[in-house]
């Protein structure tokens, strides 16, 4: 079945929300105070994007659901994020490799969506692409420094790139969104541009581009890894314990 615009918007909103939560888990654990603030800032940018996307999802769905409904009251199987963003933080290198792959895709995605035939998404894209461009500077900057740093940082960076690589294909679009593309609601495929850009970053970092073609997919259709449920449990616990609470 072809995905509708609501599914597309939820995929993007879930991507932003889940990654936002993963980055928030770094707060007070980052290697330096500066990096703590940097990761928190990126997390908050992603949260802001998720909120806009969920609010719009509520409009598209037309059942009176607000942003909180989509964030707090859906279970793992209803989430449509790519598997990459739910992967555990690991060491700093894993977080940075995950972020580079994500940020490069997000930059190209939002760039392509500034021309969307959907004015709400196009307006959101105009803002999100600036935020995301900075996120990529941050993550790519770190990957280059880790790859080009000490033997230990290089070893960990390569291990992180290898570990995250099998989760990248889902970042480059879903196989059921052809109709949305034909209608001009979503842009051209970002895959080839992403491949070239990521190869470039890896080259700059002195890291090997993984040759494995095996890819894990399923997140965009609600089939998640074992890591999403504990994340949601933590993220949704308060809202579910005190429904409708405000502060």
């Amino acid at each position: 079945m072809a995905a509708d615009l609501l599914t597309h918007v939820l995929r993007q909103g879930d991507r932003a929300l889940v990654l936002s939560h993963r980055l928030a888990q770094w707060i007070t654990h980052a290697p330096t105070l500066e990096e703590d603030v940097a990761l928190a800032n990126i997390s908050l940018d992603l949260l802001g994007q998720a909120r806009h996307l969920f609010t719009y999802a509520g409009e598209l769905e037309g059942e009176g659901h607000d942003e909180d409904h989509f964030a707090y009251w859906r279970d793992a199987s209803e989430f449509r994020n790519p598997l990459l963003v739910e992967q555990p933080n690991g060491d700093f290198a894993v977080t940075i490799a995950r972020q580079v792959f994500h940020d490069q895709a997000a930059v190209l995605y939002w760039e392509s969506m500034t021309d969307s035939g959907d004015p709400t998404i196009a307006a959101l894209a105009a803002r999100a692409r600036n935020e995301t461009a900075f996120h990529l500077q941050h993550s790519a900057g770190w990957l280059i420094r880790l790859g080009d740093g000490t033997d230990e940082s290089r070893r960990r960076a390569q291990a992180a790139v290898d570990a995250m690589w099998p989760f990248t294909s889902e970042l480059l679009g879903a196989d059921d969104e052809g109709a949305l593309r034909a209608d001009g609601l979503i842009g051209e495929s970002i895959e080839s541009t992403w491949q070239v850009a990521v190869a470039d970053i890896l080259l700059g970092a002195g890291l090997e581009r993984p040759t494995s073609t095996e890819q894990c997919t399923g997140g965009l259709h609600g089939a998640h890894s074992e890591h999403l449920e504990p994340l949601l449990h933590e993220m949704q616990g308060l809202a579910r314990a005190h429904p409708g609470a405000t502060w």
């Binding site: 500066e34 900075f134 941050h138 900057g141």
Partner: protein, 94 residues
């Protein structure tokens, strides 16, 4: 990461036409990273349109012990202040 990164002094220009002002410092392994950290720490609320970072070790500072020798003598040199001079009445509202 037990290594302590070098310190950088951060200067922010709030608006075009103003000077860069010292805002604080960050730790970072290199200038580019320091700039990004400074962006996050000192321009979150639209405080700036331009940033400089300078290695703190490159700043040559005056010695607090020299305060009297450096700055004291300025106190009794009234001729350095414009108010020390009587202006002819012809120079109105200067």
């Amino acid at each position: 990461m037990s290594t302590v990164f070098p310190q950088w002094e951060v200067f922010v220009r709030a608006r075009r036409g103003l000077d860069h002002q010292h805002a604080g410092s960050v730790h970072a392994p290199d200038g580019e990273t320091a700039l990004r950290a400074a962006r996050d720490l000192f321009t979150r609320r639209q405080e700036g349109v331009s940033l400089w970072v300078v290695p703190s070790t490159e700043i040559v500072a005056s010695d607090p012990a020299d305060v009297d020798a450096l700055f004291g003598p300025a106190a009794d040199k009234a001729y350095r202040f414009p108010t020390n001079y009587d202006l002819p009445p012809e120079v109105d509202h200067m």
